[in-house]
């Protein structure tokens, strides 16, 4: 019997109030009142008499009431109801928990019970059915959710909302098919592009194999005298994908025969490690799911930053949550399994106020999501993923540019902590042995994420096929993570581990098989979410929250028993071998039999050519404003500079008790560029975390864009006292149109800067990830075709080890009377600056980094911080000195008197240029008056200047001709800094 349990609120419901505000903001002010019910549709063999109990179990008697089998009607009345639930096959976490609660209580009696959760929203006011539908569309994501709407009249005549049990129904009989490749080039190209055709001619989805790859595959199977099976082709497509093999970074590029990865990025790390000799900090680089450096005698700290751009464009919440929970598994799957200790994030969006939509099809059809919706969904996804997993998120950024409108960039990272020695062996080394069982642990496998999703809107009916988008389930992963990292690892129950990400088990098993040279999988043993999946689908599905482990046969029972006792499903799906082959069987029949060598190395290497891309911009011509108070305020309000407090406070940055320097600093709560954590509670050592990117600089010079990103990522860690030589970095290239020679030329420039500057600063790259095609092709509202490409974006993430975390310095001004210094040189480098952007110019003089000078300054500053001579340090970034000084004042709720004439500058004659130039390698610092002399001595030989002092009053700035140009109340500056995004 199927029945609805409807849980309603008896007290004012904060969720309803907030939702009402959101609906008003969506443009429906006529909605006057709103009530919410949480609905559980229970499909069960339980008797009517037991149903009341289900209501009790699923509600709170203090704040809620419930109604079973008869519809709840709000006392205040309503005009329309919108009910939102999941489409068939989409993970329904609430439904799962409700089912477990009911089963726990009733035991055997409730076996076979299924629960499906939905939320019903009762709207009252002058709203039409069309309005209600638009509200439903605005709140739900039609890729993963179904919407059901009824008017009051329909609701009454139907006696409530319908009882819907969205189950997946697949009717095909699973089997593997042979695919003939005895075809002409056009047909082979078609398969590579659109996938394998079934009997009805319907294609399975993109394989992303080019003709050259198809030829290699064709001749390989010709030499075997048999055609490939569908699962073999799919498996090759996964393993050879740009996503897995990074074909562009591996390709021969002009004179760089070994490609950009080996010839630039990895070369930087190798050079640094050789130069550093016994002081080498690298423990594991580029060979595993994360990279790691030494933390102390006992631990390593790992880091990895991923991108989840395409999924987030289509389903911002789902894309972001699976992104963050997915990169957590890069820690869990690092070495013998590292405990996730820090999450980091970075989002690139278009202006959330931009309401003009773009469309995937002509005639205003199939619109992309608005920038505001993408922004809020992504933020919420990382919120739920990180908070539910109990991993602190102390650091991140949000960057805006209109070119992220077609495709946002969503960076998510996780740092891990792992003992240097695990069960007497090096903790980063793992080796599956022939004979070891292959075990898949965690979630079950469904149709989610196959081919990175086909994303068509499905009819909202029962029995529609499972969608390609997936919802993350952080609690399933948390249970697995705890059971593996806190128990199985230290009981020595496995020999190797990796995560299931792109390509699912097809990639994880084949990757681990390299450790012992072979594997055999019995695919029917893989636990499925629902029956009827084709073998190739099971093999490449990207269903979330799964790890693959190699477990010695004698430990299999112990391992599975442990997992069971922790509520984690773990299943033997095959064994590792030394046959040199990857063999897959389905119900005893061999359906895949490929040489590992061919699978991993058979991919033809690309040869790419570049072409110089010239960029020249108009010389900016404008007079400087006479009102510098207003100018400073407009700069502080800019999207790329303003407060992101609303994100910082919704991400738990205190969990695990590791927090030292927080995302918001000072009484005035200013977002800091750098955070510090103490991941081992009984060690005084700290880890500093930061990042930098300058996409706009790439409009002038990609080389300098990359140089500035590295400089800033390092500078930010130096600002809290991280010694050089203890800093590692990660690269994330998010490029566009990477098949164009001009874009490839830019890529080459950026990679060259990575090599040059990383080697100078001795900051090895330890891990990275690229995403090469961040372009959107579609139409505007007039059906005019357009292409929106992201600006080539290089994110450099940095982390380093502090000897004593209690010496770390925050950025807020501390006391009136403290002298203020500017360290470093300010040049006429306003090209692509926030200031020029605010005037509508790009310019041509982008900041350049003098690494030798910077390095000298950084070492001196770290020494001075170590001697505890600094009261506050703020690295200078976007918005230049003016913004850095203002932020320092806002954070400390203090004023300052600053004389611009004293700032060390080169060739600057305008106050506005001096205030807002974004020259690199600079800091604004304050010291206690009694430390002045010692501080100046420590900095001797560097370019720096005493420019004023902290006061109790306004921020006052004197210009180059001795005139007062700024006299602003700090409260006004704070308002300017905080107002832009405050209401989100």
């Amino acid at each position: 019997m199927d029945f609805r349990v409807e849980v309603f609120s008896k007290v004012p419901d904060g969720r309803a109030i907030t939702l009402l505000k959101k609906i008003h903001a969506m443009g429906f002010p006529n909605v006057k009142n709103l009530e919410l019910t949480d609905v559980y549709t229970v499909s069960t063999g339980l008797k009517e008499a037991d149903l009341q109990k289900c209501g009790e179990l699923l509600s709170n008697p203090v704040t809620q009431g419930f109604s079973v089998g008869k519809p709840f009607v709000p006392e205040s009345g309503f005009d329309f109801v919108v009910e939102i639930g999941f489409l068939p096959g989409v993970t329904d976490n609430v439904g799962h928990t409700a089912r477990e609660t009911i089963s726990d209580f009733f035991g055997e009696k409730a076996s076979g019970t299924d629960v499906f959760s939905t939320q019903a929203i009762f709207l009252s006011g002058e709203v039409s059915k069309e309005d209600t539908m638009a509200i439903g569309d605005g709140l739900a994501n039609s890729l993963i959710q179904r919407i059901h709407i009824k008017s009051r009249q329909e609701f009454e005549s139907d006696k409530g909302m319908d009882v819907v049990t969205p189950r997946v129904k697949l009717n095909e009989v699973p089997s593997a098919e042979r695919v003939s490749l005895d075809l002409d080039d056009a047909a082979l190209t078609e398969i590579g592009k659109k996938g394998i055709a079934n009997k009805d001619g319907e294609r399975s989805g993109p394989l992303a194999l080019d003709l050259e790859s198809m030829h290699v595959i064709k001749s390989h199977f010709e030499s075997l005298n048999r055609p490939p099976t569908d699962i073999e082709l799919e498996s090759l497509a996964q393993t050879w994908s740009e996503h897995c093999k990074h074909t562009i970074f591996a390709a021969e590029l002009d004179e760089i025969k070994n490609g950009l990865f080996k010839g630039r990025i990895k070369k930087a790390t190798e050079t640094i490690r050789a130069n550093m000799g016994k002081d080498d900090i690298c423990a594991s680089v580029f060979v595993d799911n994360s990279g790691a450096i030494f933390f102390d005698e006992s631990f390593l700290v790992s880091d990895k930053v991923e991108t989840h751009n395409s999924p987030s464009a289509l389903d911002p919440f789902g894309g972001a949550i699976t992104g963050i929970v997915g990169v957590n598994r890069d820690a869990m799957g690092f070495g013998m399994a590292a405990k996730p200790v820090v999450n980091r994030y970075g989002f690139c969006f278009a202006d959330p106020k931009d309401a003009k939509l773009l469309y995937r099809a002509k005639g205003k059809q199939n619109s992309i999501l608005s920038p505001a919706r993408v922004m809020l969904g992504v933020i919420e996804g990382v919120n739920v993923g990180g908070n539910c997993s109990g991993i602190p998120t102390p650091q991140g950024f949000m960057y805006f540019d209109e070119r992220y409108k077609g495709k946002p960039l969503v960076f998510v990272g996780t740092m891990g902590l792992i003992p240097r020695i695990v069960n007497g062996k090096n903790g980063v080394e793992k080796k599956a042995m022939p004979g070891d069982a292959i075990i898949m642990a965690g979630n079950r496998v469904g149709l989610d994420g196959i081919h990175g999703a086909t994303f068509s809107s499905e009819a909202l009916s029962e029995g529609s096929p499972a969608t390609a988008v997936q919802i993350g389930d952080p609690i399933t992963q948390k249970k697995m993570s705890d059971a593996i990292i806190k128990e199985a690892r230290d009981r020595n129950l496995y020999t190797s581990i990796t995560d299931n990400g792109a390509g699912g088990i097809s990639c994880s098993v084949a990757e681990m098989a390299k450790e012992c040279n072979g594997c055999e999988v019995d695919l029917e043993k893989v636990p499925l979410k629902y029956p009827g999946m084709q073998p190739w689908q099971t093999w490449i599905s990207e269903s979330q929250e799964r790890m693959t482990l190699a477990v010695p046969q004698e430990k299999v029972d112990k391992f599975i028993g442990l997992m069971e006792s922790r509520g984690v499903e773990a299943t033997v799906i095959g064994k590792f071998t030394d046959s040199g082959k990857c063999v897959v069987r389905f119900n005893g029949k061999t359906i895949m039999d490929i040489d590992l060598e061919f699978l991993h190395e058979g991919l033809p290497k690309k040869v790419l050519k570049t072409e110089k891309l010239e960029q020249k911009h108009a010389v900016p011509k404008f007079e400087q404003s006479q009102d510098f108070n207003a100018e400073l305020e407009q700069m502080l309000s800019r999207l790329n500079i303003c407060s992101k407090e609303f994100i910082s406070v919704q991400y738990d940055h205190e969990v695990q008790g590791s927090s030292v320097l927080k995302p918001l600093q000072g009484k005035g709560r200013v977002n800091a560029e750098t955070s510090v954590v103490r991941p081992v509670l009984d060690s005084e050592k700290g880890v500093s975390i930061s990042q930098a990117l300058y996409p706009k600089y790439g409009d002038i010079s990609i080389y300098d864009m990359a140089a500035c990103a590295i400089d800033s990522a390092v500078k930010n860690l130096v600002a809290v006292g991280t010694p050089l030589g203890k800093i590692a970095i990660l690269d994330n290239f998010c490029w566009c149109s990477s098949d164009e020679p001009g874009r490839l030329w830019q890529l080459k420039q950026a990679a060259q800067a990575c090599l040059d500057y990383a080697v100078k600063y001795e900051t090895p790259f330890v891990s990275g990830k690229d995403s090469m095609f961040n372009d959107f092709k579609g139409f505007d509202e007039n059906s005019k075709p357009l292409k929106v490409s992201v600006p080539p974006t290089l994110l450099i993430s940095s982390f380093g080890v502090l000897g004593d975390a209690s010496k770390a310095v925050s950025m807020d001004a501390k006391f009136a009377g403290d002298p203020v210094y500017v360290l470093g040189v300010t040049r006429n480098e306003l090209g692509a600056s926030e200031y020029f952007a605010s005037k509508g110019f790009v310019g041509n003089s982008v900041p350049k980094v003098n690494a030798d000078k910077a390095l000298k300054l950084y070492k001196a500053l770290v020494g001075a911080i170590d001697s505890q001579l600094l009261a506050s340090v703020q690295p200078v970034g976007l918005g230049g000195l003016g913004v850095a000084i203002a932020k320092k004042c806002i954070a400390g709720s203090l004023g300052a008197n600053i004389d611009l004439g004293k700032v060390t500058a080169e060739a600057i004659e305008r106050n506005d240029f001096l205030l807002f130039s974004e020259s690199q390698s600079r800091f604004v610092v304050t010291v206690a008056p009694e430390n002045r002399e010692e501080f100046e001595k420590a900095l001797e030989g560097n370019e720096f200047a005493l420019v004023g002092e902290i006061t109790q009053g306004n921020l006052q700035i004197t210009g180059l001709n001795g005139e007062k140009i700024v006299d602003a109340k700090v409260a006004d500056l704070e308002e300017a800094y905080k107002k832009t995004l405050r209401d989100y």
Partner: protein, 265 residues
């Protein structure tokens, strides 16, 4: 040695730092999975303190703390009652508070354990709030908070709005069961955001049972066991340094754990 059981499993995630705080206070702390406890409930007899740490058990599905409370009520009720009858201590922090409120271990007016009379509802902001708050200590009877008048520590929750009926509220005041209230400066928050971060009635941040031996609180004392965990420690450090004073190592939240441990000494 005083022994503390720190519960884990199903998404509890503050178990390690809570155990660390008890150890720092001189207890022997064991992290025990709820399923191991269900399997061998007898082991509860070895412990004097039962801690329900913060976290996201069952992802807050069907209401924060509800699903784990249902599980424990089904599987461990008698054992929990024995533990309480033996005059031992129970603390629920954040999600742990939500669990023991749903279990009816709090406020258990007139000794009616199991009755759910208070709830932690979604925050007024309908959003997760992670921020430092000031608290005022009120209860004379609560074992955990002896000697605590003013204290700061972080909150981090999406459902922390203390909600109950007027009758229960009156009883709580009458019985000295209100332990912590959110404060602003020298006074109370008066419902003002963000000082009262969730909209709790009467600014209530924590309550105890009638005996004072069971404490539930939304803020996290285990996140203020070091000086350097505070949101303003760098400013405090600069102040102390200029006065020539030494930096303390410990944070004020330790007092709650020390009170619990010394109760048995």
């Amino acid at each position: 040695m005083v022994k503390a059981l720190v519960l884990t499993g199903y998404g509890i995630n503050c178990d390690e730092e809570t155990a660390f705080a008890f150890k720092k206070a001189g207890a022997e702390a064991s992290i025990v999975h709820v399923n191991d406890l269900i399997k061998k409930p007898g082991q509860l007899k070895d412990f004097q303190i039962f801690a329900f740490p913060g976290g996201f058990c069952y992802g807050d599905d069907t209401g924060s703390g509800n699903a784990l409370a249902n599980k424990m009520r089904n599987m461990l009720w008698q054992d929990l009652m024995e533990f309480i009858d033996q005059e031992k201590l129970v603390i629920g922090i954040c999600n742990g508070f939500q669990v023991i409120a749903n279990l009816g271990l709090l406020p258990a007016i007139d000794g009616k354990y199991g009755e759910r009379t208070v709830a932690l509802a979604p925050n007024n902001s309908a959003r997760y709030e992670c921020r430092w708050v000031s608290l005022k200590g009120f209860s004379k009877k609560c074992v955990f908070t002896k000697g605590i008048e003013d204290i700061r520590m972080p909150v981090a929750h999406g459902e922390g709005k203390f909600t109950t009926s007027k009758d229960v509220l009156e009883k709580l005041v009458e019985n000295d069961q209100l332990v912590f209230k959110y404060a602003k400066g020298k006074g109370l928050a008066g419902g003002e955001f963000p000082f009262n971060p969730n909209g709790s009635v009467l600014d209530i941040a924590g309550i105890c049972n009638e005996t004072g031996r069971i404490l539930g609180m939304m803020p996290h004392p285990e996140r203020h066991i070091f000086f350097t965990q505070q949101d303003d420690w760098t400013k405090q450090k600069e102040t102390l340094k200029r006065k020539g004073e030494k930096l303390p190592e410990e944070g004020a939240g330790m007092k709650i754990f020390r009170n619990a441990v010394s109760h048995f000494k």
